[in-house]
Symmetry: C2
Subunit: 272 residues, 2 copies
């Protein structure tokens, strides 16, 4: 069985970094993926020390990206921030830096132009990422976020950027964002052929979904065929961790980390 990793955004209930790690370890979870604000809250050095002391695997750092901006200064500021994110990922020994690429800048309606800003932004940070040994994982986001969070919305679209930019950039495949894609099987196979599957995130799509951002489901509570997608990903050659990432303001974020992680482990064994 592959490894379960806890994306720490799943545990946004007010716990400290150290408490989250203690909760993970109590349930045998030794892989994590923190967000930059969570690392900053405890301090990068302290976070890295906790990771090293506990021999944790860091399956990703969330997140870089957000490249489009109305002017050149804004786009440069985004790139500068991404370089700092690379440093942080390197310090933590993260498997990759996850990129949520950003949506339409300002009041723009030019999604083609926004997509070019994304490719340009990744191109600008890529030499630094390669030198630091930090793979960049473009995370295609669900099309419902195309305007305000990410204008890269399918695996194939992300892979086209990878082809353009070369080595060091791949994809993070989050089932929540891609489960609906009519081309899912072929896109995952293509990503595997290219050797560009850098991360695999899991959760579930609830029916109904009451909030477009903060109502993701626990694995097994929704409609995503997680085993089928995992089979596609393993057939494509990726047998790495499955990382649980659940934004759930009104349900899982209200529960103790201990209960959340216990449930994640149970569901991981049962339905993933």
């Amino acid at each position: 069985m592959s490894m379960l990793s806890m994306n720490l955004a799943t545990l946004r209930n007010g716990s400290s970094f150290g408490e989250m790690i203690d909760d993970c370890l109590r349930h045998g979870v030794t892989a994590i993926s923190p967000w930059r604000d969570q690392v900053a809250a405890v301090g990068l050095k302290e976070a890295a020390l906790i990771v090293e002391t506990n021999k944790l695997r860091v399956t990703g750092l969330c997140r870089g990206g957000m490249f489009p901006a109305p002017d050149a200064a804004g786009r440069q500021a985004a790139i500068d921030d991404n370089l700092r994110a690379i440093d942080e990922a390197a310090t933590l020994g993260a498997d990759c830096l996850v990129l949520v690429v950003g949506g339409l800048p300002g009041s723009s309606k030019d999604i083609v132009g926004a997509r070019q800003m994304v490719a340009d932004g990744i191109a600008a940070m890529l030499p630094y990422a390669r030198a630091a040994g930090v793979p960049l994982a473009i995370e295609p986001l669900h099309p419902m976020y195309a305007a305000d969070r990410a204008c890269v919305n399918t695996i194939d679209q992300a892979l086209d950027i990878c082809v353009e930019l070369g080595e060091g950039v791949g994809v993070a495949i989050d089932v929540y964002h891609v489960w609906w894609d009519p081309n899912l099987a072929s896109a995952i196979a293509r990503a595997g052929d290219m050797g560009r599957i850098f991360a695999h995130h899991i959760c579930d799509w609830l029916v109904p979904t009451n909030d477009m951002l903060l109502d993701r489901g626990m694995m097994g509570d929704g409609v995503i065929d997680l085993k089928a997608i995992r089979a596609m990903i393993e057939a494509a050659g990726y047998t790495g961790p499955q990382e649980v990432e659940i934004f759930s303001r009104d349900n899982w974020w209200k529960r103790a980390g201990d209960e959340v992680i216990k449930t994640c482990v149970e569901r991981y064994r049962a339905v993933c």
Copy 2:
């Protein structure tokens, strides 16, 4: 300039069918697209008489579809209902019957299977539709509706079904559902080459979107580049009506039809 059509779902403020038509005519709008419940409320014969008397063009009847069901009896019931919808469309002289194809049946997680049920359902109704002279317009819905409303989520996916089934079935291109598609330009060109663009629906994508179903925006209030998409559609050979379809529970549905239609006409001239 092409013709503006009012999809009567835009006017769900309690007005009767006749009142909606009066509001349309007062603003020079002579094309409509009613929903089946709106036709049933006034009676099919009376609706047809109003259409004929006022020389209205009916750019579509909404909606058929909803093919997937957990068992054969359920799927047959859906087909039977679709045959009645064809009769209604024929009686109204509608340009097409719009198909919202349905999502996952029951507690199924098999989206590939659901998609097959859709193709099978359309195939089953197609001979009857051809005989009645009613074109079937598959409306790809935004991927956020893949689970519960429509598992056909891109123009290309709908066109693949058209290729499989032959003449008499095409696509309704609603900007709300497809604006994000990285393959939008090529998909519209393909639809035009195939001669399968049967309808063009317009509204806008608001940022933020506060409700996944009932918070569509008036043209010009969101991020969709309507002129650019219209240019693609006209370049593909479709110069037919642009049909305004806005589900807006907390805004436009609360306003008088007169104000809504007046605004639609103004925005149509300015930004479409």
